[in-house]
Symmetry: C4
């Protein structure tokens, strides 16, 4: 592991602890990864881990196709989704996946529409490349399934069809978001979850 990747892996553990303290990765859910720009290898949290205690030793090293290169622990069933995000977003080098109250409620409500559209909030400007609150962030919502080949394919399509999106929701499941670095992935995570909570509180009591 290069120094740069080791620093990112450390930052990733801090991000995991921070998310755990907010209740965003309950009951060992969620996962986190970084990618080494040198060889495309992915360092990802193993399955069944309490993210509040994640250390660099809990990361598995995968190659760019998702095969385990080193590390102990069982790969998460969702490792393949990280592989897809990295393939379709070549500039991104960190991914966060969380299960929160608000992304669960909002994704379940919007799965039939196929997307969540958020506009009008100043905090949208925390998303890289967004320069105005008038921006409409369109986040695809994929119907959840245990068939990971379907999920992988639909995630790939969603990323292709929505080149501007900063995240993808799986319905009643959670959010995938990313960044060029752990710092940017955390900023996107925090901004999107804030926006989900505000939108959910504004919209939801109505049927």
């Amino acid at each position: 592991m290069s120094t740069r990747v080791a620093e990112q892996a450390d930052a990733l553990c801090n991000l995991a602890h921070w998310a755990a303290a907010r209740g965003w990765v309950p009951a060992t859910s969620g996962n986190f990864s970084v990618r080494d720009p040198a060889n495309g290898h992915i360092y990802i949290s193993c399955s069944g881990l309490d993210k509040g205690r994640m250390t660099v030793a809990d990361l598995l090293e995968l190659d760019a196709q998702g095969r385990v290169v080193s590390g102990s622990g069982k790969p998460s069933a969702e490792s393949g989704l990280h592989v897809v995000v990295y393939r379709r977003r070549p500039r991104m080098h960190a991914i966060a996946h969380v299960h929160t109250i608000w992304n669960t409620l909002l994704s379940a409500r919007c799965v039939d529409a196929g997307r969540v559209e958020i506009t009008g909030y100043e905090l949208l400007k925390a998303l890289s490349g967004v320069e105005s609150h008038t921006h409409a962030e369109r986040i695809p919502v994929i119907a959840n399934t245990q068939d990971y080949s379907t999920l992988t394919r639909e995630l790939e399509e969603a990323l292709e069809t929505n080149p501007q999106t900063h995240g993808v929701l799986l319905s009643a499941h959670g959010l995938y978001t990313w960044g060029t670095s752990v710092v940017e992935a955390r900023r996107h995570l925090e901004a999107l979850e804030f926006l989900f909570e505000v939108e959910c509180r504004r919209l939801m009591p109505q049927p």
Copy 2:
């Protein structure tokens, strides 16, 4: 106390502190126990204890019938419910009982139906043996009473009638959940409380 049980008792105290920090055992409510697989003895928090400060010294040792074997402090009136859970779930060795805002609201709302049924959420997979979000978790809701012989009998029936359930709710009172270890009990606790909050927010408009 064997080394294995001592480790579980330590983990139980950490679980109690974690639950207290979330406001899940307010005003000395709730209780926690582990069982020694060697002799079936139960180590359980005594009555009237601030769970945020629970230590191993605050645990009472009970035999498998619930009689005090050692320890100071008054046994909780609900010790008998732990005895019943351990009897009906021979593979389980840790129990958590908590009073939360969301389990109180949801159990009061669903007591007439006699159960809470939760389906469609990815986080259901945090419950041992559940492999899909399509699983329907049916959690019995027992009408609360101060008649502990009735409560004990109804809990026993609920456990018998619902061999798959990962928890039992007492209406406007709280949740009982369990695991083969403290780690598993905590995972079940965190997953169920997340699901209760999501369901409650989806079903009941809030201020």
Copy 3:
């Protein structure tokens, strides 16, 4: 200050910090006191204090009539309400007054009825002397006013008319609760605030 009172004053500061961490005494609101059983003197937080940083040195000593005996800092305008509670509840030796989201909402909603009545919750048993969830806790709600002589008189009447109540609400203002010790006052505070939140969430979206 006797050793017993010094211990209670220390415990009172811990209670203040704990309440501050929960956001229950925002913007220097709220106040806390203990009474010396030996001479009836009251040790009470001074006005304008950030309760998250309260120390024993921030307490004013008042005599049983509320006159300052020692200590620096300005007495709170609400000191007289503490004097009344101690006079009408001779066995009580600690008082907590907090401003929370839920006691504000609930007291504003129930001021016309003149009281909040809470029944059916297991957590009622955390209130001293209550042995069943079927207990109906009737908490008087006094219309808020800046006329402290009126407020004092109405508090005195409320305490006389409701000898069993564990607290009194001032509408859109806050809760007064008490105990024989700081431990008991904190248990009553935590239980009542839990019950206010549950009741508010159950009742309020309806007009």
Copy 4:
């Protein structure tokens, strides 16, 4: 930097950390400043900073017209709004700007009315100069825009038209509040955010 200003800058960092811990400055949003009464210079958080880690070294020194005098880092686009507040409120020497769930919801709801009016709460007395819960705090709500010259002008008008207000809201964006010192600015911030939450929960059904 004089000793007095250095102390205020330290207090400002503590305020920023405290706000960050509450989720009030998500995703590097928000900003904070103090003014030196000696020369009118402003010390303000630079752009893109995680406010949970803000140190005095992260402050830029601006002159009274908003030009950078010293410090590294990029000035925030909203520095000009601080300049306007200090110009129109000559006695004020600290400013806090935060993005919260409740100020976002409430300002979006009230932008057409042009203001939020809050009355009847005891906590209004935490605002300097307010002596009764019957006070009606009228907080102007300015429509958000990325045109900072418009925003600056409208803020200036709002401050002129509402000489008594303790804050100004930008719709779906956030709150500006201030004080003669960091202590007072924090008290105003905490009181206003409490009042926004109570009002929002009273007015808008939530999930």
